[in-house]
Symmetry: C2
């Protein structure tokens, strides 16, 4: 009966045991990867130079609103946003924000090679990258770009994603972009399995999940787009304690947390209730305003910057490349002034590792609130925010003993719109926190619960997704 | 150990067997309900008269934009919306729409009486109701109204919902309002269980689910707000075939569809993939515009109407009541010109009833696409929409033989903002449709799959939720 075999196939497709097997493979074997990577770095060069906003070719500053937009009307615009929160806290600010109403596709092709899942990754240059190439998904494409608005080359491998049959889909979910800099932007995070042979050009390479996870400990190597797609893999499910051999109390607790049989402090219904409560409690209204009307920001001929010198600037770049859909362009970008920090506190309860997530409004979030890291801030900017308290748990993260830091890597945010945007991603183990005395906006979740939320859109923000991918690596490619 | 007992309590709280037991109780015993209801109808009178928009006290038409808003800035506004869809279909229109950025609370208190769940329902008058009272949730309150912007009385029982402890929560989820008339409006749908005694005034009454379900067959009696809260109850779960005695092939298939062990045509992962695909395929951009800038609509001193005479008008009412937070007010309302139709086609596959849902963009929807009924339209308005084809499956619904119509009741949409807005809700059984030859925007889902989607926000639209509550009643209060 064809129907039953389809269902059986798609069930095993999302079998977390296959993800675990790939996570345990190849992590120590990266020599040939590095020689390929170094080779790509020599071939695939991009020259990026700063250009004043007034001098960006093809981009116009609207005479009335001050908004920055491309002459075709596509790609993205830089506009203003007014964010007002009433209720238990009264907050109001305006800021520049990127608007890009299209849904992009971030996709990784997966294939079993010698019985192990391999992921087709791409060495991709972006103008905002601090170091040129980053390890990126098989495809990352907006409609503009696969619709070839800029008249460039086709995006390789995109057809696998647009023509995927249901039985090839390991994951496919819309997830939000950075809610502090982008207004209601979502991308489609897809992992598609094929068994056909694919012609792979030299910029692409099949890697095991264990290899990619190992590379997550290298600064600025695995791109934001790759990290978010990886976070949506089926890591969790019943039976995970049989898949991973735990080598420490920490990894045993982590594995039990990936296991859906593991007992959490809260049921899934309680977690969903808490999220609804948080979304209802925050009375947030955002509205688009003219970029000229953001207050505290000053447009100069070169950049748009905050008067305090904090937060970020909107700046321009000119780009030359031999290895891209088009070989020269200019564009505005957001450049943060200082690096960010995103950290999960994790703690064991009843032998099961829990992650302390925070439900906090961000201006660009579609659903008012998504779950973010325990701490998400720009430590160097805190002085410029006198009205807001120092983030809870920042001290616990910054003062953690070295042996309690389980993950600690600086990664870059997406290099297509953000220039040198770096965030320190940390996972810090604690043991002193009672599960009941965390504030109402925080909750201890198991990894299995986070994994179940990640099957749906708009629950987990992109920083928390990066951290989730990092945490999952601690029993795979980065197991001690 | 208090932690474990909390979890056990909240698990059994959502036990669908308890919902089933209540659905099977009391459905034939409505005599005392009707005498209470008739009594309420005599006591709780509301006088509603039409008032020209120009003469609405407290409401202003903005001199520049034409937007209608209350002088306090609260409640809601009537503004314009520009909806543009590109891609496989090119659609563009403008229309008036209601904006109400607050999240309201729709809540039903539940209590075990003699071992059976009872629901505290309210006989509530709304100015838009065709017949005065409708059976409504225990509370329905916007922030404006429980924050007492209009200086009225407190909303009875609201504190149970705002102070609910996790172990009291049977369901709590944000769900969308009518996406054709409201812009990105969500309400919190809550069902809270208490065991304390509650003082209940004469406008309230404890009913079994079976009684409420029986009343779903009475036209214009169970309010839209009640229907949406009821749709979020935990009807589905493993073991449902033991709970309900099936008396026909249809009810046997329906019960198997509520059972999470029942085998559907598609896995849940395939369903989620299909939803992501639909949301990504539709390239929809909506933006707020001035009400004066909607084209094809004419503002007269009395109403705002479409030039074709179709769709709806924005009109005004004056209201006098002795039984409300405030006893007199005026307000604008949306009044549809003709009644709507919302219908599910249902069909058995492998002994399990499936519902044909449609993924279709609506202008006010936060996530571009939600799942709606198989057919959702205003049949009388179709002539005014020459560019759009006649809805698929409309003929199958309108020409169905009487013995294939499983549910058929006219209900009202929410009477606080919609005046005499009536929709015919139908469930029609088919058997001639192959499961593979439905168009890409349609999918056969089991009731258990719909139930699992209803635990989350923004998957199922309000018309489909009403139909889901109606379908679930066919094994409970409305079992043959």
């Amino acid at each position: 009966m064809p129907r039953l075999s389809t269902r059986a196939a798609s069930r095993s497709l999302r079998d977390p045991a296959r993800v675990a097997a790939s996570a345990l493979a190849g992590g120590s074997d990266l020599e040939s990867f590095h020689s390929w990577w170094d080779g790509r770095g020599r071939v695939d060069q991009m020259t990026v130079s700063r250009v004043a906003l007034d001098d960006l070719a093809g981009w116009h500053t609207d005479a009335v609103t001050g908004d920055l937009r491309h002459e075709t009307g596509r790609f993205f615009t830089v506009e203003g946003l007014d964010m007002r929160e009433r209720g238990e806290r009264d907050v109001h600010w305006t800021q520049p924000i990127i608007r890009q109403p299209e849904i992009g596709t971030l996709g990784i092709l997966v294939k079993e090679i010698d019985g192990i899942l391999h992921f087709l990754m791409q060495a991709k240059n972006e103008p905002g990258n601090v170091n040129g190439l980053q390890l990126s998904p098989t495809v990352q494409a907006t409609r503009s770009n696969y619709g070839r608005v800029h008249g460039g080359k086709a995006v390789p491998h995109i057809e696998w994603f647009h023509r995927a049959r249901p039985r090839q889909v390991i994951s496919d979910v819309l997830q939000s972009e950075l809610g502090g800099w982008c207004y209601r932007k979502s991308n489609r995070n897809m992992v598609i399995e094929i068994d056909a042979d694919v012609e792979v050009s030299d910029g692409f390479r099949w890697l095991t999940l264990g290899q990619i996870q190992r590379l997550l400990t290298v600064p600025d190597l695995v791109s934001m787009d790759a990290r978010t797609v990886l976070s949506c893999l089926p890591y969790t499910g019943p039976g995970m304690t049989r898949q991973y051999a735990a080598v420490s109390a920490f990894s045993a607790a982590l594995v039990r947390s990936l296991d859906e049989g593991g007992t959490g402090l809260h049921t899934m219904d309680e977690v969903l209730h808490w999220i609804t409560e948080a979304r209802s409690r925050h009375d947030v209204a955002t509205r688009g305003i003219a970029l000229n009307d953001v207050s505290g920001w000053k447009r100069r001929h070169d950049v748009l910057a905050h008067e305090s010198g904090a937060f970020f600037t909107v700046m321009g770049v000119a780009v030359w490349t031999g290895n891209r859909e088009v070989s020269h362009w200019t564009q505005p970008m957001i450049e943060p002034v200082r690096p960010g920090l995103a950290a999960f506190l994790v703690q064991e309860f009843g032998g099961v590792l829990h992650v302390l997530v925070r439900a906090q409004p961000e201006p660009g979030t579609l659903t008012v609130v998504e779950l973010g890291p325990t701490v998400q801030c720009v430590p160097g900017d805190l002085d410029a925010l006198p009205t807001l308290a120092r983030p809870r748990f920042l001290d616990a993260v910054q003062e953690a003993a070295q042996d309690r830091i389980r993950f600690d890597t600086v990664h870059s945010e997406e290099g297509g719109r953000f220039h040198h945007a770096r965030t320190r991603y940390m996972v810090v183990e604690t043991d002193g926190l009672g599960h009941r005395d965390v504030p109402p906006g925080y909750r201890w979740l198991t990894l299995s619960q986070l994994g179940r939320l990640l099957r749906h859109s708009h629950y987990v923000n992109v920083q928390a997704r990066s951290l989730f991918a990092g945490l999952a690596s601690l029993v795979g490619g980065n197991a001690p």
